[in-house]
């Protein structure tokens, strides 16, 4: 595969992944917080094509999990009744873009059967739905924090590189200070100052603000470098000779050089910040129960018995890996293009 094809494959994949997560309400069969107290830790439901009589069905069907007597969280399939998987079915209510309520889900099975594509957790909540809904929070925080970081980085890097002298010194030394800041401890400290309960929205914006505002230093340095080299070009001197203002020079002649760096940085920062959110939620600094995020889903694995007994609890980690690889492939392609244009 050529690098261009690779790039577009990665982009298509990422677009698909984001679409699934944005339309989590539609794709997920269940509400991520609804508990099934009789079905804790059920393994992923298996879709079947061939029934007990050996007949083939084009429409896949599932069997209900029933708990094995005298055992703890062990299940077997009940072959009493087959529940075919239907598409575009009515199910629990959800909101599209937080405004319109809808009931149609991409797929589902007839009640009382339930389909758990990625198994269920300790409270019998559908993990597939939780991964999708959790992805919303993790992704949104990653994207927003990246935006904040890049805006700050662009602004400060440009000022620093363009005006130089003491401003440069000030901004760059501050950037170094931010680079060495132990931000995890910073966040622990910030959390300790806040009241006991803060609403999920506030927690979310706090996470985004802290992750985003701490990470501006690296993009700022890169932008500064680009601006420094761009402002010494002859056409900049010419433009200045014609009496162009600083704003004009920046907009027309300097900033266009930074876009490549910014794009590459964005592709690198998004997965990094999603992982940062995961880390914080893993440590209990993120959103509180029952709202899911990839970090809080992975936090289930902190318990030894979960870690060794229920392999499907690793699936959120898999989602995270796949997602990060997609972004890194894009970043790689950007970087290659950037190098080929500057050389």
């Amino acid at each position: 595969m050529t690098s261009k094809k690779k790039f577009w494959a990665a982009v298509t994949f990422l677009v698909l992944l984001h679409a699934v997560i944005v339309f989590a309400g539609f794709v997920a069969p269940y509400d991520p917080t609804s508990q099934n107290r009789n079905l804790p830790f059920v393994p992923p439901t298996r879709p079947h094509f061939i029934d007990t009589q050996g007949r083939f069905h084009l429409r896949p069907f599932i069997c209900q999990w029933i708990s094995r007597p005298q055992s703890l969280y062990e299940y077997e399939e009940s072959h009493d009744k087959a529940y075919p998987i239907h598409f575009l079915v009515k199910g629990p209510e959800y909101k599209i873009a937080g405004l319109f309520s809808a009931h149609t889900h991409l797929f589902g099975v007839e009640v009382p059967a339930q389909i758990f594509l990625a198994g269920s957790d300790n409270y019998g909540r559908d993990q597939f739905s939780r991964i999708l809904y959790g992805g919303r929070i993790s992704l949104a925080s990653g994207l927003l924090a990246t935006l904040i970081s890049l805006m700050l980085g662009l602004l400060l890097g440009t000022i620093s590189g363009f005006y130089g002298r003491w401003i440069d010194e000030l901004v760059m030394r501050t950037a170094e200070l931010f680079l060495v800041l132990p931000w995890l401890y910073l966040l622990l400290a910030v959390r300790a100052f806040l009241p006991l309960y803060i609403s999920p929205m506030q927690t979310f914006f706090l996470l985004v603000a802290v992750i985003g505002s701490v990470g501006w230093a690296r993009p700022a340095r890169l932008v500064r470098g680009v601006v420094l080299s761009a402002k010494t070009r002859k056409y900049v001197a010419a433009s200045r000779g014609f009496g162009a203002s600083d704003i004009h020079i920046l907009r027309r002649h300097v900033l266009p050089h930074t876009y490549g760096v910014l794009l590459t940085q964005a592709a690198l920062l998004v997965p990094q910040y999603v992982v940062a959110e995961v880390t914080l939620s893993f440590l209990g600094l993120g959103l509180s129960e029952p709202l899911p995020s990839w970090g809080s889903l992975l936090a289930n694995l902190q318990q030894y018995n979960v870690l060794v007994s229920y392999w499907w609890m690793f699936i959120p980690g898999l989602a995270l890996i796949v997602f990060s690889l997609g972004y890194l492939a894009v970043a790689d392609a950007f970087l290659k293009r950037l190098q080929s244009t500057t050389v």
């Binding site: 508990q35 107290r37 804790p40 300790n122 409270y123 006991l196 309960y197 509180s288 030894y304 018995n305």
Partner: protein, 591 residues
Amino acid sequence: MHRLAWLAALVLAFGPRAVALSSPQPPQSGEELQVTDNQVGHYGGSLVVAQSAEPKTLNPVTAADVRSREVIGRMMADLIHINRDSQKTEPSLAKSWTTSGDGRVFTLKLRRGLRFSDGQPFDADDVVFSFQVYLDEKIHSPQRDLLIVGGKPIAVQKIDSYTVRFTLTQPYAAAERIFDSLAIMPRHLLEKAYHEDRFTQVWNVTTSPAEMAGMGPFRLKQYVPGQRIVLERNPYFCKVDQRNNRLPYLDELVFLFAGNEDAQVIRFQAGDTDIMSRINAENYALLSRDAQNRGYELFDLGPSLEYNFLLFNLNDVKGPTASKLGPQLAWFSDLKFRQAVSSAIDREAIVKLVYAGRGMPLWGNVSPSNKFWMDQSLPHPARSVEHARDLLKSAGFSWRNDGRLVDRQNRPVQFSIVASSSNNQRTKIAALIQDDLSQLGMDVHVLPLEFRALLDRVFQTFDYEAAVMGLGGGDADPNPEMNVWLSSGSAHLWHLGETKPATDWEAQIDQWMQKQMIELNYARRKRFYDQVQKIIAANLPYVFLATPNILVGAKKNVENFKPAILEPITLWNVEQLYLRQESGAAAGAKR
């Protein structure tokens, strides 16, 4: 000389394990030893158990944490002991005792000819000294409260070298139980420090073994910071088996500092430790899957004495905290609100999902395993969201169109539940309650908090709304619970620091608790305590939830292993434990 001792310690630490310096002393004719009825074992071996972290201190008077007490308890002995298996009192360092007719004067006869673990003789002066220290206000012993009966400390008097008299100002039911776990300390080692006012600093973890001595089955041998503490046999221990072999059988008892329960489970699974006290139900299921291959056995002892409950803040909160808490305090003080919450909670689900079926739901403060004291007539209402809604309606609450519960002033009902973040089970309970109460339209948030921060909020600042906590487990008798139920008690969590009972029912609890405390007849005492249980269940200062079963494990070659539901669950008869010699097949399984 000093250098030589140091070298000896080094040799002991790194030399072959079979070398035992403290071989048991043969029983002497003048010694009045206690004969145990356990299966006769053989000497040797070392037993390894895990602890979450190191003990804070080895000082029996100031130790307050479980880890310290677990280690200290193996090096110390008491005058009268509660047998953890029968839950009855039995002679220990005192060979017998008599009670005066009015139940106020106890005369204890001490065993003669006994020695501390450093070989020095034991007599009544050590007893008097020990109680003097426990009762000293300046030392702030956590046990001091137990020794204050009717507002006055117990008077201790030496009659002769082997007789001590204890006088109480008023009759006290089951007074002999007070003596359990009160360590008798060596006067010859500690008196100087006590008179120089540095008693609270003696016997910490770095104290050299030569400066410590006790009457328990083991004595300190070595402490390796961050890793383990090693105890060795007390060669003068006061118990012998039926063949006149002096106990304990084990050469060494090692406490390994292994970290949290999961880490301990891994060590136990790997065979690094011999005994595992308290396993949670999920780890129990995990361990039972390969118990056969790994050569250990697991035991489910049934419900513990511990009770877990949902605590509402009913404190008299003043100042900025009060304005922060707002309407919650008013809701919580309404009995109907508490009853509605209690009715909506799915206790069976807690037992099933949190304790994996190994537990019991609770509707009162006494666990079903406490057969002597549980009030069998307490009702066990089934979960009913309907009933909860009726109660809330009659208390003036109503529902908005979107299903949210609001109070008379149209304020939405929301509050947070704090739970210890290190206790996975309690945070899970809180999450289940959150879901249960959302069916009533309440908006409940679960806040896991670091345990010390949680205690600070509950005991000091009162800056919390509700909490999931647990109490009990020490003794089956009601008297150690006095501080929980008396309105002036130090663990009267829902409303601390009451100068007089805030409500009628709290006044009634006070009366019945005082009455049962001085009543010597069991049947009458039980009737009084039943009253207490009824009042508590009717007024719900705590919403009782569930009690977990006590689950333990031990390697198959540990003999005389008799775990009990009272603390310390597994090591209470450590002097009787011995390691069976492994046959070829069993050794193969052990790897």
